[in-house]
């Protein structure tokens, strides 16, 4: 592979690095707020993937000025623009769930929540325990 080739793929590689960082945060960290931040990083990496693909060398923003120009692809822009706002709406939903989990368990650490769940199950299973 030539050097110029690698140069043309640099954007995609950084996108993959970001995507994997986001995934790693979601999988390896137990804190629910941090998981949501990780999801946001993952999400932004997908945005950058789409927008990078839409870029044309020497192109400009797809707004007609009357002069003949080369435009970058407007379609990914449309898809990602709406996705960003949908993203914040779903992030808000996730955060609302975190707040409710905090109210119910008094913790936002996954490990502690699982422990509490297990303890509650065992209590019910014990003979003589209230149904």
């Amino acid at each position: 592979m030539e050097f110029k080739d690698a140069f043309g793929l640099f954007n995609y590689w950084i996108v993959i690095v970001l995507m994997m960082t986001g995934l790693y945060i979601v999988v390896s960290r137990g804190n629910l707020v941090k998981k949501i931040v990780g999801l946001n990083i993952f999400q932004t990496s997908v945005f950058l993937l789409y927008i990078s693909m839409g870029k044309v060398t020497g192109g400009t923003a797809p707004i007609l000025t009357g002069k003949p120009e080369v435009f970058s692809n407007p379609l990914p822009h449309v898809l990602i623009l709406t996705a960003i706002v949908v993203g914040i709406a779903t992030t808000a939903l996730g955060l609302a769930l975190v707040v409710r989990i905090k109210n119910a368990y008094n913790s936002i650490e996954e490990d502690e929540i699982q422990k509490l769940d297990l303890a509650a199950e065992n209590e019910v299973d014990e003979p003589g325990a209230r149904p």
């Binding site: 043309g8 793929l9 954007n11 994997m20 960082t21 995934l23 945060i25 707020v33 914040i88």
Partner: protein, 329 residues
């Protein structure tokens, strides 16, 4: 030079992501994620996606940071040290990353004008927008007219998410009484004066972005977020009750549904003229004029729903907040 800026911003993004991974103080994690959004907005401008950058800057660095901070105030400030093994996630992530890098080797190179993505419908949008829609911003034309049906779906998703947040948090919102009044930042004189001066221009700018979206970067999505940001900053500095007097939660919930109604209603009008759903060409004297009217109406609906979802979400989060003492900031 161009590619140097591109690479520098990308490396900076990766660095910020690693910093987010390493930090355990949630406050700095949230702040870094705001930085991450702002840098990615700069990168998006560089990649010619001005409309997208606009949205990312307003959403990522503004509203989402505020929502996350409200969550922190209600939950925890620090991440507990992890007990689980991190070797397996690391291996999985590394292997997945390698597989994806291998996949990119077949991709068209960055900026290649002959890439398949530029051969499908995009050339038609670029060449036909001028005479079919008659507005300079191709992104707005595609968003509101060519792919208006998609956008209606997205607005409905935002609407649904907003409703879900309200349902989840509604039961626990404290009723605002004088006893529980959040004292806000009464003694931060500079903050209060600057906010008062800023809110007018912010609202004006939101309206400009809303109605100038046909000609320059902007549109309902960006305007909605900026509009909401003005109310959020007002509520942050002057207290939730004061903001509630200016824009009651009830009114926001009505606007929330009204926006979607305006959007789909505009689509239904074309039925009466024997046209397809969301075909605006019948709304005006000429097809182009009809497109203009249709797009302005639809964008207005989008802006209304987006602003209402953001404001009502913020009200729902802030309504739960225990008053935050000054020493904690």
């Amino acid at each position: 030079m161009e590619s140097v800026i591109n690479m520098a911003l990308l490396v900076f993004l990766a660095g910020t992501a690693f910093a987010i991974l390493r930090r355990t103080t949630l406050f700095s994690v949230v702040m870094l994620s705001g930085v991450f959004s702002l840098v990615s907005a700069a990168l998006l401008v560089h990649l010619d996606a001005v409309d997208v950058a606009f949205t990312e800057a307003a959403v990522g660095a503004g509203v989402s940071t505020v929502l996350m901070l409200s969550t922190l105030a209600l939950t925890a400030r620090h991440e507990a040290p992890g007990t689980r093994s991190r070797a397996i996630p690391l291996i999985v992530v590394f292997l997945t990353g390698l597989a994806l890098v291998y996949g990119t080797l077949d991709m068209p190179r960055f900026g290649d004008p002959s890439a398949p993505v530029h051969q499908h419908v995009a050339p038609r949008y670029i060449s036909a927008t001028a005479h079919e829609i008659g507005m300079p911003n191709i992104v707005t034309a595609v968003l509101a007219s060519y792919r208006g049906f998609d956008t209606l779906g997205e607005v409905t998703v935002i609407f649904t998410a907003g409703i879900a947040v309200l349902l989840l948090l509604a039961g626990t919102i404290r009723e605002p009484t004088t006893a529980t009044k959040i004292t806000a930042m009464e003694h931060h004189l500079v903050l209060r004066v600057v906010t008062k001066v800023l809110i007018g221009p912010i609202l004006l700018f939101a309206l400009y972005v809303q109605f100038h979206g046909d000609y320059g970067p902007g549109g309902g999505f960006q305007a909605g977020v900026i509009f909401a940001a003005a109310f959020i900053i007002y509520a942050l500095v002057f207290g939730l009750e004061t903001a509630g007097n200016a824009l009651p939660g009830r009114a926001v919930r009505i606007l929330l549904a009204l926006g979607v109604l305006i959007y789909s209603g505009t689509g239904v009008v074309s039925f009466f003229f024997n046209k397809n759903f969301l075909d605006y060409s019948v709304l005006g004297a000429t097809a182009q004029a009809g497109q203009h009217i249709g797009i302005i109406l639809v964008e207005f609906g989008v802006g209304m729903t987006v602003a209402a979802v953001m404001v009502s979400t913020f009200y729902a989060f802030a309504g739960q907040n225990p008053p935050i003492g000054d020493e904690e900031w």
